[in-house]
């Protein structure tokens, strides 16, 4: 009853179009996930740092940002961005732009929290020592706090990156042809849901599981014996 021929018949569409985003449709899981992870992390660093600045206004705004996005579902944020951005710019925005913006804005709140926790995990004495040796505040951040903080953050960061990678499947809701949408399109025609969804589940798993394996090895290398 199961028929995995549907996978081989549409392998090129699923992988080349769905995973890599090369083909007639705007799409691609990797094309979306990689920039979203990088940009989300960069924005997250700023938000994490903003929460720790002495300026009360900035830290309150950053806190609100984090609390807001952690209090609403990603699906809701995608619908917001999808609706609002073309309205403001008065231009058709490709699904790619909508999805990327939504993921960066949303995930930055989570990355921001990880960055903040990482920085706070560095003992206060380290900063005092650095200041005592005559480092400026920027130097202290750059040479003393961040290197240690990043090491502490790695597990949580990778977990979040995996979450983001999986979340990109939600871009299919607005018609972005990623791996999930590609499977959906093929399934609409062939009606082989078990085979198709199991197949893409395995493809997602290969990526996310190798990310977590990599993180574990990285962690072990960093942990002082």
């Amino acid at each position: 009853m199961l028929d995995f021929g549907v996978i081989s018949a549409n392998f090129k569409f699923l992988i080349v179009q769905g995973l890599f985003g090369l083909g007639g449709f705007a799409g691609g899981t990797l094309r979306l996930a990689i920039p979203a992870i990088v940009l989300g992390f960069v924005l997250g660093i700023f938000i994490g740092l903003a929460r720790l600045t002495p300026s009360r206004l900035i830290s309150v705004l950053a806190t609100l940002y984090v609390e807001f996005f952690r209090g609403v579902p990603l699906v809701m944020v995608i619908f917001w961005i999808w609706f609002i951005i073309p309205q403001i710019l008065r231009l058709p925005i490709p699904e790619y732009g909508v999805a990327l913006t939504a993921f960066v804005v949303f995930e930055a709140a989570y990355f921001g929290e990880i960055v903040r926790a990482g920085i706070q995990s560095v003992p206060r004495g380290q900063v005092e020592a650095a200041t005592a040796v005559g480092l400026t505040r920027a130097q202290t951040m750059r040479f003393v706090v961040l290197p240690q903080a990043i090491r502490n953050m790695v597990p949580a960061l990778v977990t979040q990156m995996i979450v983001l990678f999986k979340d990109t499947s939600l871009a299919s809701i607005i018609g972005y042809v990623d791996l999930t949408k590609a499977a959906q399109i093929v399934n609409n025609r062939e009606i082989k849901p078990f085979e198709l969804y199991l197949f893409i589940a395995v493809v997602y798993f290969i990526f996310t599981y190798s990310m977590s394996r990599f993180a574990r090895r990285f962690e072990r290398r960093l942990t002082p014996a």
């Binding site: 609403v72 609706f83 499947s169 939600l170 849901p193």
Partner: protein, 237 residues
């Protein structure tokens, strides 16, 4: 293009009752999925610690495979992929009893069970072995040591991340709209299609989620503070 605000769409017509139904469905599916997730989390967490390799492998496979694949894919899988493989009678029964709700609940529960398992395992691993040894040294039996020392500490360690995870579950229930579960996000979209007022509809949905999430987080923070063991777990203020 001018956007004309018309907030009254939220309380005229059927919008109000749609939103209310949406909230109820969201809470129902989340509560049931939470129970399933907690049960699976505990069982798989326990499986991963038993001294029998095949069982450990089953536990690990469950956790790794289910939490590493997108929830949306699981939704489609459980709703479209699995029912045709069931016997005809079971299919009929499910389809007569709100298949989309149960498939969505299952997808949500099984997915979050895997994530819950990690939370529980991390909590248990965080308790130093010496706690147990000290309890036994003081003359407690193993059962007493678990009941009086290990479980109370573990629960306190687990509650904060488990709260977070539960809120994630609540928010993720919105993904069920893709398989036509009429939860809150679905109803928000419904108002949008019937009134063509997207900003108003999205605002209403967003506010309700915020109130639910912030409210639950506030209650749980109070619970944590109430039961905190002084000096054991530092709570950032």
């Amino acid at each position: 293009m001018n956007y004309q605000f018309k907030w009254s769409v939220l309380w005229s017509g059927q919008s109000g009752s749609w939103l209310l139904q949406g909230v109820i469905t969201t809470l129902e599916i989340s509560a049931l999925a939470w129970v399933l997730a907690a049960a699976l989390g505990i069982v798989s967490g326990a499986l991963r610690t038993v001294p029998f390799r095949p069982l450990r492998a089953v536990g690990t496979f469950y956790v790794e495979f289910f939490r590493n694949v997108p929830l949306l894919v699981w939704m489609f899988f459980w709703y479209f992929g699995v029912p045709p493989l069931l016997p005809r009678a079971a299919q009929d029964w499910i389809f007569n009893h709100g298949a989309e709700f149960w498939a969505g609940m299952f997808a949500l529960g099984v997915y979050h069970g895997a994530r819950m398992s990690e939370v529980i395992r991390a909590g248990i691993l965080a308790i130093p072995r010496t706690q147990f040894e000290a309890a036994v040294a003081m003359g407690l039996t193993t059962f007493q040591a678990y009941r009086l020392v290990i479980v109370p500490i573990a629960l306190r360690l687990i509650v904060p991340p488990a709260t977070n995870e539960s809120l994630n579950l609540l928010k993720n229930s919105s993904v069920a709209l893709t398989i036509s579960v009429a939860e809150l996000t679905f109803q928000t979209r419904q108002i949008e299609t019937y009134t063509a007022k997207a900003v108003e509809a999205l605002t209403a949905g967003t506010l309700i989620y915020l109130i639910l999430c912030v409210g639950i987080a506030a209650v749980m923070a109070r619970v944590e503070r109430r039961f905190a063991i002084p000096g054991l777990i530092a709570r950032g203020g």
